[in-house]
Assembly symmetry: C2
């Protein structure tokens, strides 16, 4: 996760994944790394940003060209396995929000 994602001009889509990790690793780190790699290889993937507090609360935002690209990624077989393990083992709680990015601006030069 190299920090701020380079994304094109809006419009595009964001999936905001807000979560609280369960204690312990239980295979989480390895799967998380694999999911980053796999997401980046999907059609319509534009970038990803992630940050987590020491207390376990974290936010991951992935950026996508279209709703169809998001649905395609959500239905990926290997990702489905990860989602199931996420529900069962890795996350005490989470919320997924799908949003259309309408405007974006950076720090002035």
């Amino acid at each position: 996760m190299p920090g701020i994602a380079s994304t094109p001009e809006p419009p595009y889509y964001a999936v905001i994944f807000s979560s609280r990790r369960s204690p312990g690793d239980a295979g989480y780190r390895q799967m998380a790394e694999r999911m980053v790699e796999l997401a980046a290889a999907q059609p319509g993937f534009l970038g990803m940003e992630s940050a987590r507090e020491p207390d376990g609360f974290g936010i991951t935002v992935s950026y996508w060209a279209s709703i169809e690209a998001i649905e395609h990624w959500k239905a990926n077989a290997e990702h489905l396995v990860a989602q199931e393990r996420g529900q069962r083992a890795w996350y005490e709680d989470y919320v997924v929000r799908v949003a259309k990015v309408e405007r974006a601006y950076g720090k002035p030069e």
Copy 2:
């Protein structure tokens, strides 16, 4: 920052603020706390989530009832001062993305 925000059914808006902090505090923590307090008192504020990595990369997402509520908050006088200090002193880099949340779901019970 108490973790996952409780938000109403979509549609609503999200402001995704992705940033890399400059080293040192320089009044940052005090102002950040004040901005959380002030944002929460604005009309149309729905919630806020924030996480930062030890390396300085962080994501703050605030949720709003409308674009008008976001514009009103952006133009708040005390917030304008904070934005200026943010550009000048606290953030090496940042991107602000304004997005319309179209769908949201949580962890199944």
